[in-house]
């Protein structure tokens, strides 16, 4: 342990804080070092090769391919460079604005209504005294996280069915008329919110629970000495203790704002409610791979990617400033 820490300190020194003269000498020795390095390090590069090739071919080649967003595709190459034409078309199209708005609304609803739930679940789980009771609850509520959105959509279609779904049975018991939530344009966004809660509230609480358990027990003992009750302890010890975790995860979610989860939405879409939950990604899929407007679709995807990148980088910087912990 100690040696590796020393090692890391040395490495940091070598790359960062060394005076300029020393660094220039370093550069002069580079060629000789390369030969020595090659002899020592080639096995590592052989082992990393499949991974590196994967990243180059399936992550960087597509970045190059994204140039079709700036081109007019022709059946016989070469394609014609049209600059920002497709982006102008996009920004002039009311459908794109609707899609963007839908994405922001859905992401916003999730941030407000989904985000706090796992925190509350973790706070409650932490109060459970019996170890086996707690384990039982955890084993059950973590499960949905590991189910695909296709499966979850299937479960929700069954549970929300107007004729024999559990939800309408319960509301019917209170005298309410059955609603076909999956095909009701007023409900469908809430279906997204609740299905997201169903899927992730349990599993996401694990992160917060881990943070709670890491809080120094002495703080609780001291609070108890001062006569603090359950709520005072939660308010003054637990919540301050997990605030950095909350901040990090909040910011991370904010960085994903323009995604709104394609895998979820595409399984809850049908012709009746499409206009309510058509998001950027489903729009890209539809006009790109179903209608064949590749350039326009790529432009929309690229727009989302660039905005997403800005959001994530901002999130990373804010997180680093606030909590000293970045997104990665």
């Amino acid at each position: 342990m100690d040696t590796s820490a020393e090692q890391r300190a040395k490495d940091l020194g070598a790359s960062g804080n060394v005076p300029k003269i020393a660094r220039d000498q370093h550069a002069g020795l580079l060629a000789g070092k390369l030969v020595l390095g090659l002899r020592k390090w080639w096995p590592y590069y052989v082992m990393m090769a499949p991974g590196i090739i994967f990243f180059l071919v399936l992550h960087y080649y597509p970045i190059w391919e994204a140039k079709i967003a700036f081109e007019q595709l022709r059946i016989i190459p070469p394609n014609i460079w049209v600059g920002l034409k497709h982006f102008q078309t996009l920004l002039a199209s009311p459908i794109f604005y609707q899609v963007l708005l839908n994405t922001l609304i859905i992401s916003g609803m999730k941030l407000i209504f989904v985000f706090p739930v796992p925190i509350m679940v973790a706070l409650m789980l932490n109060e459970v005294r019996g170890g086996s009771l707690r384990k039982f609850i955890q084993s059950a509520i973590y499960l949905p996280h590991f189910l695909s959105w296709v499966v979850i959509a299937g479960i929700f279609i069954a549970a929300l069915s107007p004729s024999d779904g559990a939800v309408n049975q319960i509301t019917g018991f209170f005298g309410m008329a059955p609603v076909s939530y999956m095909t009701d344009s007023g409900s469908i966004r809430w279906v997204l919110v609740f299905s997201e809660i169903w899927r992730s509230a349990g599993w996401d609480s694990l992160l917060y629970l881990a943070a709670i358990i890491a809080i120094d027990q002495q703080l609780y003992d001291a609070a108890e000495m001062d006569g603090a009750n359950r709520w005072q302890k939660i308010l003054h010890v637990t919540i301050p203790g997990i605030t950095p975790t909350i901040a990090t995860i909040f910011i991370l979610n904010a960085g994903m704002f323009l995604s709104a989860d394609l895998n979820q939405v595409i399984n809850f879409q049908n012709d009746v409610v499409r206009s309510q939950i058509d998001i950027v990604d489903t729009y890209v899929y539809r006009i790109g791979l179903q209608t064949g407007e590749y350039s326009l679709a790529t432009a929309a995807g690229l727009f989302k990617a660039v905005m997403g990148m800005i959001l994530i980088l901002m999130a990373h910087l804010v997180s680093k400033r606030l909590t000293g912990k970045g997104v990665w």
Binding site: S4, M47, V128, A166, R230, T298, W328
Partner: protein, 300 residues
């Protein structure tokens, strides 16, 4: 903590009861829909139409739905396709991720920083599904299983998890192996990998679940329905409501009593069939994931 049990006031007891019952309600909301599907799929087909969504007890008992499912060629093919993509994909993913993580975890590796940035950029910037599609087309991967196996072959997040783990491997151990005359490959496969078993198990489970659940890339890349993974067979039948996906090719009435099979029961069955492999490894997931996430915190 046990001491405070004695000193509990009635108010605190009520609070505790509310907390526990809220959590138990959460458990019911999570598990009941799945149990309801199980009950529907195991009921006597004639009695399914009257069944509500709240019941978790089968009405009558029949395995008709399940025998229909395991005889259905589309379902069987879907199972086979999913199994192949999941197993081959996971194996390749784990070994390539581990090998790359090992290199990147060596602090003195030349080019380490550049490679690291290269990986981080892929997390931050994804050009989207259309360029991905075109690259797969260029490489001739459309309509092959490889298009799915190569998708996220090395997951950047799991790579980072493994790098962090490998960074903790004690230097002395590696030096000792080197003195014994082991080369870099032997050190990795014989010393490092066995040490990394818990971490490897964790990312293996991550990859297994991710690969089994993947459906969207299959929608993009596989035109040939006979190559579809189970998730897509399920999707066409349950989400898109296309009965042909299940029974179109054969005459439904060829099955004994098939005309009486309730579509709802059949849907319940195929949903459960798609969940089954996840349920099978779920105990392992609980063991590794929760331990992995919790133990780090517990030390503090």
């Amino acid at each position: 903590m046990s001491g405070s049990n004695i000193r509990r006031t009635p108010l605190e007891r009520i609070e505790y009861a509310i907390i526990v019952s809220t959590l138990l309600l959460l458990v019911v909301i999570t598990v009941q829909p799945i149990l309801n599907l199980l009950a529907v799929s195991l009921s006597d087909p004639k009695q399914v139409p009257g069944m509500g969504g709240l019941t978790v007890v089968p009405r009558g008992f029949s395995l008709d739905v399940w025998s229909l499912l395991i005889q259905n060629p589309n379902v069987l093919r879907g199972l086979g396709n999913s199994a192949f993509i999941t197993i081959v994909g996971t194996l390749l993913s784990v070994i390539f991720t581990a090998m790359m993580a090992w290199g990147l975890s060596r602090p003195k590796l030349p080019g380490r920083r550049i490679l690291f940035v290269m990986v981080l950029i892929t997390i931050v910037f994804e050009p989207g599904m259309i360029p991905d599609f075109f690259v797969n087309k260029r490489l001739g991967l459309i309509n092959t299983y490889w298009s799915l196996i190569f998708f996220k072959l090395v997951n950047a997040w799991y790579l980072i998890i493994l790098i962090r783990f490998f960074e903790e491997v004690p230097e002395e151990l590696l030096e000792a192996a080197e003195l014994d005359g082991a080369n870099a490959f032997q050190i990795f496969f014989k010393v490092v990998l066995p040490l990394a078993k818990p971490a490897l198990a964790t990312i293996t489970l991550f990859y297994l679940v991710f690969r089994w659940n993947e459906f969207f890339r299959a929608m993009l890349y596989l035109n040939d329905q006979s190559m579809w993974p189970l998730q897509l067979v399920l999707r066409q039948f349950v989400v898109e409501g296309d009965k042909l996906a299940m029974v179109g090719v054969q005459n439904m009435n060829n099955y004994t009593g098939a005309s009486q099979i309730d579509m709802r029961a059949l849907k319940a069955g195929i949903i459960l069939l798609t969940i089954a492999p996840v349920l099978l490894i779920y105990p392992l997931i609980l063991k590794f994931f929760t331990k992995g996430t919790m133990s780090g915190a517990l030390k503090g």
